[in-house]
């Protein structure tokens, strides 16, 4: 089996501060991989090591079988990278920025650039310094995709994008994935990973705490149920973290939806919501 990304015992310390600690991770070629973790967990440190921007304290990381630190130039030829905060030279126009980025690659075909600018409704004449956060993100997306890389590394890719653009962005990613491209996507939004990735890893405090197929995570992950009124929770399996308030209750539920709906029907419920739990709750779900 061929791997696009291989990380072995990777440790990165910034002086006394912890970056990541003894990480092991492999991403297969053609796989859509989700990398989930709260802010400061070590997601960006892992990505910056993969790109050869920082040197590992210990261990190693390889992309396409090449050492990230020693052969970053060769690796970059096949990577499209979208940073969480896309920052470019403010005095350049969007077109100049994209052309400048493309000029470094062997594939200098501009047709893909034009097509992507149209799909993301980018005004290429505007100066990058005048753009909003969301529009800069779109420039970053086009810059990452325009040279048709075989591996996409996306760090918090949807920040700043409106829902329509987010949908278009995932449409483009789905097309790339169908072409056999590998996608490594970091996010703290669980649903983004759940809906698109095949495999996911959770990182917390610099350590990988879970790596599983997304279907399995989704099957096991709980939902936060909040209701006004009351139901008999003892009749339900898969209930955790029950918190009762003056006029209602809240709990984590990982059982079958049908049983929950029946329990809600039997109880005295005025109103209820079922939401995706935040990451801390997912972690708790897995570690309690």
């Amino acid at each position: 089996m061929k791997y696009a990304i291989e990380i072995e015992n990777l440790t990165k310390n910034y002086g006394k501060h912890r970056g990541v600690d003894s990480i092991d991770l492999c991403v297969k070629e053609g796989e859509w991989f989700g990398f989930i973790g709260p802010n400061g967990a070590g997601k960006s440190t892992t990505i910056r090591t993969l790109l050869g921007l920082i040197k590992p304290t210990k261990g190693e990381s390889r992309v396409f079988g090449l050492d990230s630190w020693k052969e970053s130039e060769r690796i970059m030829e096949g990577i499209g990278y979208l940073p969480s905060e896309a920052i470019f030279y403010p005095e350049m126009s969007v077109k100049e920025t994209l052309d400048y980025a493309l000029s470094f690659f062997k594939n200098k075909d501009k047709r893909r650039q034009e097509e992507l600018c149209e799909r993301f409704q980018l005004d290429t004449k505007r100066k990058v310094g005048e753009l909003s956060y969301g529009n800069r993100k779109k420039v970053g997306i086009v810059s990452a995709l325009q040279h048709s890389p075989s591996l996409l590394i996306l760090d918090e890719p949807t920040g700043g994008l409106d829902p329509l653009m987010q949908r278009e962005f995932f449409n483009v990613l789905e097309e790339e994935h169908k072409k056999g491209k590998t996608i490594f996507m970091s996010s703290h939004i669980l649903s983004e990973i759940e809906h698109h990735a095949e495999t996911a890893a959770f990182i917390r405090d610099g350590k990988i705490i879970l790596k599983k197929e997304v279907a399995e995570i989704a099957k096991n992950s709980a939902r936060r149920v909040t209701l006004r009124g009351s139901i008999n929770v003892e009749s339900l399996d898969g209930i955790k973290e029950v918190v009762k308030s003056k006029d209602g209750m809240s709990f984590l539920y990982s059982g079958e939806s049908k049983l929950l709906i029946e329990a809600l029907g039997r109880g005295e419920v005025k109103d209820f919501t079922v939401t995706e739990p935040d990451l801390e709750e997912v972690f708790l779900h897995y570690y309690k």
Binding site: G52, M76, P83, F88, Y89, Y100
Partner: protein, 262 residues
């Protein structure tokens, strides 16, 4: 040469401002010479007898009443100090601005080696400095022609060569130091140049401690020595070229091995 071209393009505004300003100062300065020539004979005697002050600027050995004396003291100060400040200003931010402006993540996620980025940036810096000096030299010659004086070509070439070498040395040192994130600032570069400049004035005053002149690159641009001896001090120049090259090697090595800030 993508980075090289981009650096030249992004630096064009400040290059034009500095080049036009320094060239205009030199032209004005030379333009004032015919007016001051007659008066300067008596003033030169006063300057020559002012002890430490005139020693600091080389006026104890060169008469301000001659074109070369006037040029090396007045225009020489403008050229050496102006060019050195320009070199430090450009050199001290050329590398560090990528991290300070947070564009390093964009640039280094493209397929280019760090050494190549450094090399092209350094080449852009050297190009700016050389073109700056060529323009300043041509303006000097035209200004001298305009005031109908004979051009002392050999001495002018020697003087301007020393200013060019000084500029290249200081640009290299500032460029190399700017690979250390905490040293990458215009203030740091300009501070270093002013320190060297004032140190040179002190070294000129205290002739008994001869080795002091090895501690500042301004010492090999001393107009009085160049004009009177009609040659450059290659010992001093060699010392500073070696120091600059060592700094450059350190700069490349440091930038290649260290983590880049996001």
């Amino acid at each position: 040469m993508n980075v090289y071209k981009r650096e030249l393009k992004s630096g064009i505004k400040s290059f034009l401002i500095w080049t036009i300003s320094i060239a205009a100062f030199i032209a004005i300065c030379i333009g004032m010479f015919p007016e001051m020539k007659g008066k300067m004979d008596s003033v030169s005697d006063i300057f020559a007898s002012m002890g430490a002050f005139s020693s600091a600027f080389g006026m104890d050995r060169l008469g301000l009443g001659t074109l070369l004396g006037f040029y090396s003291v007045e225009c020489g100060t403008i050229m050496a100090l102006g060019a050195a400040l320009f070199a430090s200003m450009v050199g001290s931010v050329m590398v560090g601005k990528e991290e300070k402006g947070r564009t390093a993540e964009f640039l280094f996620s493209l397929p280019i080696k760090r050494e190549k980025v450094m090399g092209e940036k350094y080449l852009a810096l050297i190009t700016e400095m050389v073109v700056f000096h060529i323009i300043a030299f041509v303006i000097s010659l035209l200004s001298i022609l305009a005031i109908k004086e004979e051009i002392p070509m050999k001495e002018l070439l020697l003087l301007h060569s020393s200013y060019l070498i000084l500029t290249l040395c200081l640009a290299t040192i500032c460029f190399s130091l700017s690979t250390i994130p905490s040293c990458s600032s215009v203030g740091m570069g300009m501070g270093l140049v002013l320190f060297f400049y004032f140190f040179n004035l002190l070294a000129n005053i205290t002739e008994k401690i001869d080795w002091l002149k090895f501690l500042t690159p301004f010492s090999f641009t001393d107009g009085a020595t160049i004009v009177l001896e009609k040659k450059l001090d290659w010992t001093l120049i060699s010392v500073w070229v070696v120091i600059s090259l060592l700094c450059l090697i350190y700069g490349f090595w440091n930038y290649k091995k260290r983590d880049l800030k996001s």
